[in-house]
């Protein structure tokens, strides 16, 4: 290939490119679509993680639907209050304050606590293990420990502990609910950050069976239900349930020590802000 043909190639391609570019510029001017300017403004304030927590494919769609009036600002669980307030100003609305929602891992059956039925050599994925016989733990309800929730988290708010259980970083967690959807066993639940009392077990086996599979299983003895005011806690399928509506959100007086297996836990919040807030509340 000689120099001339290289020059011709460059010229012809450059010329064609310039020609089409001009055409597109003109077309863009001519065919420009007027968009509500608020859509762009709102979209820039949204988290932009496209996590899908609102039920729409991405943040741009959320902005469009918000401006179109099809969805509330609180529909985005990830937005913090500042961004919400700013969006509300753009939309000319009152800011709605929603309580922060975080993911809670409701299983304590790590590698140490749970009984094993054998060795699992399959694909290192919770879904695969769940389908093919339930991993290496005897418990049919608890955490499988292959970290699918960790992989699903778009905010890096989850990690696996040494004991093989996922741990939620309360500050980074935005409550998008991706991990809840990712867990094939429904071990992760979304809760307002003020809920600190949990029945951290999902085992619905009979007392005898659940006692055998995990030392921290809720065995369904019902001691906790009898220890509190009627209606605050109930037994369902051999599992204690807390009724947060009845009790309000301050659950700290419920008797965790009644539980013989420590399946009921009282979370000490890891968030500094939160603990300061709580200390203030205690003083009052």
């Amino acid at each position: 290939m000689d120099l001339a043909s290289i020059a011709v190639s460059m010229l012809s391609m450059g010329g064609l490119g310039a020609l089409f570019a001009t055409g597109l510029v003109l077309a863009n001017k001519k065919l420009y679509v007027e968009e509500d300017p608020r859509i762009g403004q709102v979209a820039s304030l949204l988290p932009g993680a496209n996590c899908g927590g609102c039920g729409l494919p991405g943040c741009a769609n959320f902005a469009e639907n918000l401006v179109g009036g099809n969805i509330e600002i609180s529909g985005c669980p990830v937005c913090n209050d500042e961004a919400r307030a700013e969006i509300a100003t753009i939309m000319g609305l009152e800011a709605q304050k929603g309580e922060k929602i975080v993911a809670r891992v409701l299983c304590q059956g790590g590698n140490y606590e749970s009984a094993k039925k054998g060795e699992y050599l399959g694909i290192e994925s919770c879904t695969a293990a769940h389908i093919s016989g339930g991993g290496d733990k005897l418990c049919l309800y608890g955490c499988l420990g292959y970290g699918e929730c960790v992989d699903s988290c778009p905010f890096d708010a989850l990690h696996m502990s040494e004991n093989g259980l996922p741990v939620v970083d309360e500050d980074t967690c935005t409550g998008c609910g991706n991990c809840e959807d990712a867990c094939p066993r429904g071990v992760i639940g979304m809760h307002p950050v003020s809920h600190t009392l949990f029945v951290a077990c999902k085992n619905e086996d009979s007392p005898k069976d659940s006692r055998q599979v995990c030392i921290k299983a809720c065995v369904g003895c019902g001691l906790c239900v009898r220890g509190v005011e009627e209606g605050l806690m109930t037994m369902e399928n051999n599992l204690a349930r807390i009724d947060y509506h009845l009790y309000g959100t301050d659950c700290r007086e419920l008797p965790t020590e009644k539980c013989s297996t420590n399946a009921i836990i009282l979370l000490e919040s890891v968030s500094k802000e939160k603990s300061v807030e709580r200390a203030e509340m205690a003083e009052v």
């Binding site: 011709v8 190639s9 012809s12 064609l16 597109l24 863009n28």
Partner: protein, 190 residues
């Protein structure tokens, strides 16, 4: 008569989707509803037609006289990409719902190999200008036909008791294969 045969050949006998297996992505992606399949077919036909005209001109007016036929791929892709941009702007202006329905498959026409295939076939088979236009129309019609047939079947399939393990992508692939087999029946007619 030659033009009719050319059209018929491109549309049915040598259907781009069902016998060359070009443009499978929108064939599977935009064939859930007949209405959107028709509009996708129209968009692709339009891009095919214009790009056939423009690529023919570029090839015979620029590339051949300057002996730089080696640039055919680059220039054809340039043409197709610009045209798709244009079509995208146009559809967005004219019909927002259609724009939303076509979604990602609209910009993906850029990389739809049926269109590049068309331009390259025209060069390879040394079609005259009018022939390549008819060829493009036939190919577009064939693409639309394949999409519409597929969409029709899939609309019925949505209500059919498909065995659980075949549901979704599985049955779609099986249907596409059966459809391609049916079109193989035309092979050798022209």
């Amino acid at each position: 008569m030659t033009y009719f045969l050319l059209f018929f050949s491109a549309a049915i006998v040598n259907n781009f989707v069902l016998s060359y297996f070009l443009g499978i992505c929108p064939f599977v992606g935009v064939s859930k509803k007949i209405s959107s399949a028709v509009s996708m077919g129209m968009a692709v036909t339009f891009v095919m037609l214009i790009s056939a005209v423009v690529t023919w001109l570029i090839y015979h007016m620029i590339l051949v006289p300057f002996h730089v036929e080696i640039l055919e791929y680059v220039s054809f892709i340039l043409v197709i990409a610009s045209l798709v941009q244009l079509v995208e702007m146009f559809i967005r202006k004219v019909s927002k719902p259609l724009y939303d329905t076509l979604g990602i498959y609209l910009p993906l026409i850029t990389t739809n190999c049926a269109i590049l295939g068309l331009a390259l076939f025209s060069v390879l088979r040394e079609y005259a200008f009018l022939e390549s236009v008819v060829f493009a129309l036939g190919a577009g019609a064939g693409f639309t036909l394949a999409l519409v047939i597929m969409a029709g079947i899939r609309e019925e399939l949505a209500l059919a008791p498909v065995p659980r393990h075949f549901q979704g992508a599985g049955i779609t692939m099986i249907v596409a294969g059966a459809l391609a087999l049916a079109f193989m029946g035309f092979a050798g007619m022209i």
